[in-house]
Symmetry: C2
Subunit: 404 residues, 2 copies
Amino acid sequence: MIYKRNKLTIDHFDVGSIAKKYKTPIYCYSLKKIKKNIQDLKINFRNINPLICYAVKANSNLGILKEIRKNNLGADVVSGGELTKVLKAGIKPKKIVFSGVGKTSEEIEYAIKRNILLINAESKSEILEIEKIAKRKKKIVNVGIRLNPNTDAKTLSQISTGKKENKFGVNQKIFLHLVKTVKKSKNLNLKCLSVHIGSQILSYKPYQSMLRVVNKIIKKSNYNFEYIDLGGGMGIDYDHNKSKLDLKKYSKNIEKFLKTNNCKIIFEPGRSIMGNSAVLITKVIYIKEGFKKNFIILDAAMNDLMRPALYGAKHKIIPIKKINRNSKKSYEFVGPVCESTDTFATVKNYQKLNEKDYLVICDVGAYGMSLASNYNVRPKPLEILIKGSKIQILSKRQKISDLM
Amino acid sequence: MIYKRNKLTIDHFDVGSIAKKYKTPIYCYSLKKIKKNIQDLKINFRNINPLICYAVKANSNLGILKEIRKNNLGADVVSGGELTKVLKAGIKPKKIVFSGVGKTSEEIEYAIKRNILLINAESKSEILEIEKIAKRKKKIVNVGIRLNPNTDAKTLSQISTGKKENKFGVNQKIFLHLVKTVKKSKNLNLKCLSVHIGSQILSYKPYQSMLRVVNKIIKKSNYNFEYIDLGGGMGIDYDHNKSKLDLKKYSKNIEKFLKTNNCKIIFEPGRSIMGNSAVLITKVIYIKEGFKKNFIILDAAMNDLMRPALYGAKHKIIPIKKINRNSKKSYEFVGPVCESTDTFATVKNYQKLNEKDYLVICDVGAYGMSLASNYNVRPKPLEILIKGSKIQILSKRQKISDLM
């Protein structure tokens, strides 16, 4: 994404022309960026040679999943719906792991039937349920157990998952107990220890603590896990100030860990693959005088992009045409939805904007469309993928008639 | 909703039987309750005889809208989608008001074409846009102007809308300026002053302040408004401790207001009509030992009911079968979605629960399904309406195949 003669372009496409042609709001993805992100992971973790299972919850568009498959990644799914979708996208069952605290019997049955790589269980009850179904189906099922390492990921509290108060995984005591239980089972094959401490992590240090905990528990369990699934959570640079997780340092820590543990590493990255691969192109409907600021009312809203309302997340908003005049008043960028939470950001010294101007909301490729809704009976936006010199429609804009 | 021999019933239907028959999660509405709520409004505001325009954003199910129409209410819409839907439900254009800060040209054109009662404009730009379209269409359009009264509704900050920092309405100075502008226009007919200070308001006092501000500005404007649209925001008893807005007191304040202002009152209630009319029936998938508490993992999740994750809202969760034994540990009720925000409530001294037990999450009729999404590729739940001795399917459960 660069400005050429003050006009924003994505992979040589002029964003203004895209906006005019397709109408806004539009989720616009760059395949080049997705591939680069995957390549970055592969290169930085080269010494580990991990199995990378893309976290489908970040973005489950079928067209995106097909690109994920073409790049030889596996998938991390958290529901029967996601499992169905990745299989439809052609991802091999032997590259699929199933996570989540509330897998239903039907979902477990489906996963067993499709012979996926791993069901990562998160509770004793789930282990018993998997065993029951496996027994009934006369199968031996590969399972993992998710450990809650009680590690603070130092991220937003809403997206922290590895602390003892979170619902995810089991504590060390239960973990060790479950290892024994599964070892004894004729229908379960314990293959994996899984762990995941949260999302949007920008320092390798929480991962370091996590690895220490994992290392200890492996020793205590006295069990040789074929896989260690380290989850995802690798943070991206939403602020555009180069605050990105240092993957190299994280890799070094894992390499050290692998010296005493002979196992295959699984990663479940979602955001780090998809996050910065997309922008939400939007148009200024009205500019409105407010108290000590002007409201820039956009045609994109919280139903299109929930992260600001849900997590207080900040996404950079940039104009598609650069000018050299700044507004004297602050701008608050808001959507048209009838909620005070439908607000994206308040910015000082922004360039002067006019009604009908186009803007892009950055880094919306992950947890953007996957969290979108039809609130206020608003159709979901168009999704397009820039693919070299072509534009692929990933999903059509919903029509109002679809919402009746 | 009452217990009969310790079993939860809604309008004589046994909730357990409903759960078994239709499978969970289910949004289950009671028409009796909806009618009662409408009746309550009509009775409490009898002396005012307001035009009640149901706020469609609270719940836009077509079946519900048809019931709203049968009860002779109008509608408050905030998008072209909502407008299309209420017209489809048969609500008369002359009972429809259009609110919202970001009405597009297409939406305004549509509203003008359908001759709705009022377009309540929220900015100078919008007024100009309506005028431009009205002129082009050679029409005279009835408009309102929304005043931001800078009144603190003393509700959750996320759902406060009438403070000067909120995006809604215009301040007094701009309001007076716009009154002049519209008076001069040949294509606009100024009919209404509208105001709305927020949602889930439990005291009549913020309304009292609001009315004082409105009274003052009417005097200053020296204009005879045919309608005063007081919005909605009437709070309901989510806590089940009788903390409900005193409608009678609110009515008294309005009656006083009307003594010096000869106008028709419009209300835009959504939550107070729909909120307590529905429960979300859900099943316990697993019970899982946590740190100082047990997690009750439900088959309903944040994608089905967003309010707890989005606003930190609390909804009572009650069992469909009462027993006399309490759990020693606290329970945290969570959904299966892979997010720490997917949690509903933590409760002490709850009755002892077992896996596969059914529960209901209360008061989900407003801002429940309207905010639902397919996050984690989860199909949206079934919606049913109890209608006397019959059960009507309001919308079918989505299938996974619908989400591909």
